[in-house]
Amino acid sequence: MAVAIEKLNRLGLNRDDYKGAHTTLCAGCGHNSITNHIVKALYDSAIEPHLIAKMSGIGCSSKAAAYFVEHAHGFNGAHGRMPSLATGAKLANRDLVVFGVSGDGDTASIGLGQYCHMIRRNLDMTYIIENNGVYGLTKGQSSATADLGSRPKRGPANRYEQIDISALAIELGASFVARSFSGDGKQLVPLIQAALAHRGTGVLDVISPCVTFNDHEGSTKSYAYVKDHDAPVNTPDYIAPLEEITVDYEPGTGQDVELHDGSHILLRKIGPDHDARDRMAAMRLLFEARQSGEIVTGLLYVNPEADDLCTREALTSRPLAQLPVEELRPSREQWDALMAGLA
């Protein structure tokens, strides 16, 4: 019997090993495309499935955590509380590759506080916001990333300015912020890989149209709008530490960023000459794009030097979850001295 020869990654796994349960999202939903890109990125980066901890909140987007890497543990938590759950998981076992999927409602409304504080702590995780400007799962109310004046399928037009979750992250000192589009796997896959390699919070703000409630004309989160207004600042190529640097494209005008594990992300600049290490430049870029109605995509900002949470907390290199209790108790002598001091 002829067996199709599948391409295996460094771990000897094929792409199907990174797939998950069958999606229950709407056909055509941007979230499903992102799921595919996640599968490819995890496969390309050859992450051990059993070390992945898939985290999410609540929403259509958050459901997606079940739709990739079936053989990874996953945690579909509570609405807006994924950052804290992920923080605990990483502290307990710093070997885990924490991979989060959230929505704009989940992150920018109910979860905004936790999102900001996760960024402040620079928790080492990949954090994807599947941003559709709408509450998909509760049937189409505007979210806090909806644009001023945008009309949801029912109910009044949105009267409030959007929260720009990328710009917010950069203002808060995030160490890795990229924006992309669910339909642009060529850009998104290497960005996910880079976020995986980055040690710190890798924020990926991915415009992901909701075909059911927010794909109509006038929505800046519709397929049509993004296609027309996407202004990529760079198209990244991700180079894993084990690969040779001599890849099949020209660094040319590129900017090369070395990440924690020795891997590189190489940005081919298409848009304005953006330096992804320059925080103020990133802020300005986003500010100007917002004003002109453009959606800039690409790696907006990265700071590989920032210490992540576990480093700041000086955690032992062994996962806390695996320390035997004997190593966690004071000795009998220490104890007796302690008690003697209380008499």
């Binding site: 349960a21 229950t24 499935p49 059993h50 070390l51 901890a53 898939k54 955590a65 079940a66 079936e70 053989h71 990874a72 543990h73 996953g74 945690f75 579909n76 938590g77 509570a78 509380r81 950052p83 804290s84 759950l85 992920a86 923080t87 605990g88 998981a89 990483k90 502290l91 307990a92 076992n93 070997d95 885990l96 506080g113 936790q114 504080h117 576990c310 907390e313 000086a314 955690l315 032992t316 290199s317 996962p319 806390l320 979850a321 695996q322 320390l323 209790v325 190593e327 966690l328 108790r329 004071p330 009998r332 220490q334 104890w335 007796d336 302690l338 008690m339 001091g341 209380l342 008499a343």
Partner: protein, 617 residues
Amino acid sequence: MTGDVLNDFCIQAATVNGSGSQSSNLVITKALHHMGIPVAAKNVFPSNIEGQPTWYDIRVTPQGYQARKRTVDILIAMNPATWERDVANVRPGGAVIHEAALPRFGAADRDDVSWYPVPFARLAREKLEAKPDLRKYLQNMIYVGVLAELIGLDPAAVEQGVRDQFRTKPKAADLNLAAVQIGVDYTRENLVKTDPFRVAPMDGTRGTVLLDGNRAAALGSLMAGCTVLAWYPITPSSSLCEAFIDYAERYRVDAATGERRFAAIQAEDELAAIGIVLGAEWAGARAMTATSGPGISLMAELTGLGYYAEIPAVIFDIQRVGPSTGLPTRTMQGDLSFVHTLSHGDTRHPVLLPGTVLEVYEDAQRSFDVADRLQTPVFVLSDLDLGMNLWMTAPLPYTERAVDRGKVLDAEALEQVTEWARYRDVDGDGIPYRTLPGTANPRAAYFTRGSGHDEQALYTEDPDVYAANVDRLRRKIEGARTLLPAPLVEEAGNRVAICAYGSTHHAVVEARHQLADHGVETDYLRIRGLPLHPAVAEFIARHDRVYVAEQNRDGQMEALLRQELPGELADRLRSIRHFNGVPIDAEAISDPVLAGEQAQREPAEHQAVDAHRVPVA
């Protein structure tokens, strides 16, 4: 002097907070303890930082009673703002040591107490070589000397108390000792003792230490192998977390590398704190948080997630006065029923109810075992009185006991089982087997969710699967009835009994003696956990009347008992409630019991339907 009251009275220091009086009061407490005299200290402090009224009650008692006593025998009056009321509270025949400048007129002009005016401010100014702000603070140390001289504190014990208090700062100790001496000298030279209160060494504290419940909880968590603490500051739980951090920094940091075998995260709020705990427990670490009322409310949603997704967690609730912000620095047992069923929907959480510092230590350890065994959040209910006040206790025993991590399958164990489903009841106890993220076995992975799931942890909305699963959860928590400690029972065949839990214990001990003195012999039932142990109902069935004493307005334990007991037993309960924020005292129990027993002997009126729900106290 009208008589001799030896080792059995109550001293109250009325000061303002932020004035350093805390040190003086601790010195007195420790000195008494060093003299072998049992002592009980209650700090009644305000919810602000400086300048507001604070009372520190030091009770000396040959019986070793640890409850608060209402009577003030000796007042140390340092606070002009409360001066009149403080004096009014002193019992006839009592004594008042006070700043000489305080005006003795109005309510403060009593002739049935002994007056000891002392010019504290002047003495400090004139006799102490110290910076002005330090001088102000040292005024309070002077009253230690005055009191010591008046009641006969052993100078060596006082010195030891001062040295304990300033262990790491010998120079400060000397300065404080000088202040004490000023008080001693002034008293010798200027005051004539006219009150009956004095102390003499005895042998009542041997083998005991002075410790607060929060530090005991921290030590218990440390010994249980808790590695992740997530918290948000809130009185009166902060000191538990801060103690854990102190101890962990002492015992869990690698001297060579500085690497830490714990993580202590000050979260942005309580929602995040419980989230971090659940995430850490899900990933296999023992984790805990400590909070108080408002924090409990904020943890409601995620505690329900822990219950339903079956994730262990330990939550210390150091109760304070609620509802709402309430009195943040006063004590209560008001969260009992709320935590037991915290979160929407049908939830039920095991609750541990330690009554002593030693039990806090034990229950802290136990809570992690119970949480792991049942795979569910567990509450340890303490309160401000138990948590923040100093208690006499046996030293906490060192633990070498192994911990119970419950039904966890590692990669190897998974190899052995042919079939594994995360939420399947294999053993008939409702408790499934779990795996941890990171387990190197492709069958280890499962997907945790707060939404409907089947045995395989797969999403489902199937009605039967849903119902079967939550019914298993119910059975699982039922198992806690015998997993949690049995009630403490002291029984001598009496028809009348007192039932209590937590820190109310200490008032009961004393109240039973008072009642016996009045001819009412009582048995005693102290509940140590929820859901209730079968022995609780059995005990009640052996008694005619059971007075349930608790520190809340609504008689929460009594209500929980009524829910579960057959009506015939439920009707034997009488509710005693104390809810003004100061720790309950023995009379708050013995008075209503006496009244109740008296009424018993008289013909009963027709009782309204909810007559038993009317507060007795």
